[in-house]
Amino acid sequence: MYRETEIIKDAPQFGEPGFGDLVINVGPQHPATHGVLHLIITLNGETIKDIKPNLGYIHRSIEKMCESLTYRQFIYVTSRMDYLSAHINNHACALVVEKGLQVEVPERAQVIRVLFDELTRIASHELWWGAMAMDLGAFTPFFHSFRERETINVIMEETCGARLTMNYYVPGGVMWDLHPDFQKRVKDFITLYKKKIHEYDELVTGNIIFQNRMKGIGYISPEDVISYGCTGPVARGSGVHSDIRKVSPYSIYSKLDFDEVLETGGDSFARYVVRIKEMHQSIKIIEQLIDNIPEGDFQAKTKAVLKLPKGEYYQSVETARGELGVYIVSEGGTTPYRIKFRSPGFSNLSALNHMIKGGKIGDLIAAMGTLDLVIPDIDR
């Protein structure tokens, strides 16, 4: 790859193709790439001709590690993939093991899981909103979003004991029961959220500078969304029905009343609106459940050593970024024979070149901001 400044020996002359091209590296240490993403961008003037992502700066070979971890242990490694959706990653792994073992999860555990999933989704979108506005040059929104996100982190910390890599889900339920203050804290959060959320629209959504930078930027058509395998808000911003909670419902999502947010713009602004509206839908789900947490066990009784019967298992869930799939090939042992994580960011990133080719370099930041890339999720 381009490790040093590349000196083009046979530079194209005036009139030849490629005349005036400039190759620049963005990242791996660049504030706008939100982590160690390295983009090799070919520019002509300010116009982007080509983007080649260079991945692997945070590759830990999680799939290989999981091959030597038991079905109880491997869940905790996955918190380190998409660290902003740690609970939802854990949920996917717990579900796939439960599917293999045919364990019935107690209703209380299922409700607790969905509550935490939706709180995670809000926390993730809050961070995205602040970080994306910061990419575009607005620093204040970051503090606004972290004000609300902090209250979610406190809720997580009380019950799970951690603020980022929670490791709360186990095959068969959750690790321990809710903190006694949980319901009160969540209700306080809902009140705070409803009081403050209009500030988001006043600060950013309605801002004319922001809208000019977002509308029509990074357009992707519904056909290309499907072909590139984009999922989550990226797909729904182009009007593709792709919410796993609706397409193939898991846990108790089929019993809940919420809408799949669809926008038809296909540009950065549409993806922005999808995420903002998704936060409202998550609040709607939490409101339905918070007063109706059933009594009972928080964990099903499972054997100390879990062995998945020989076969193949696949489970996908909707994380804050899209469809996370866990594919396990079992040989009947205590560890997976092969495990594959189909991460949403990986496929979403592959569409970046298609989205932004021909645009300006300033638009790249706006388009990448709405892809909501989490690099450990892409590299795994």
């Binding site: 290989k64 030597s68 499907i226 395998g229 298992y313 592959s350």
Partner: protein, 152 residues
């Protein structure tokens, strides 16, 4: 479409295909050479419309490699798993990135991790691993690397 209906339809398209049931979805085993044409049919056929390749991976079975393609139709909401066995010493298969664009990145990952060569791939380079890892395939079962301990 149910698995039974899919089975009938896919046999019509490719008589040499063999099937395996038991999992959630129907597994179709095909010859590697049949893949590109079969993939195009799966995507374009009126009643199949498998337009979404949601997972592409490979499994090392020590004696051979198996390519695994998970396909779903976003319109008809049915899914199928296409599998192709590859020779372990010289694994080669045609790319499907012209049918499903997402395969371009996924195939590059399989290329570096398992050493499968995808013929006619537009840009078959290392994606995640750093330069110099060509020929060493970390996800294969016989991979040994005492320096970077990835086995726990």
């Amino acid at each position: 479409m149910t698995n039974e209906e899919l089975k009938v339809k896919l046999t019509e398209l490719l008589p040499s295909a063999t099937f395996e049931e038991g999992g959630e979805w129907l597994n179709v085993y095909i010859e590697p050479a049949a893949l590109p044409a079969f993939a195009k049919q799966l995507k374009s056929d009126e009643v199949l419309q498998f337009d979404f390749l949601f997972c592409l991976t490979c499994v090392d079975w020590k004696t051979h490699l198996t390519m695994v393609y998970h396909l779903r139709s976003t319109k008809l909401q049915h899914a199928v798993v296409v599998k192709a066995k590859l020779d372990r010493t010289k694994p080669e298969i045609e790319t499907v990135s012209d049918t499903w664009r997402t395969a371009e990145f996924h195939e590059r990952e399989v290329y570096e991790m398992f050493g499968v060569h995808f013929l006619h791939h537009p840009d078959l380079r290392l994606l995640i691993l750093p330069a110099g890892w060509e020929g060493k395939n970390p996800m294969r079962k016989d991979f040994e690397d005492p320096v970077n301990m990835i086995k726990l």
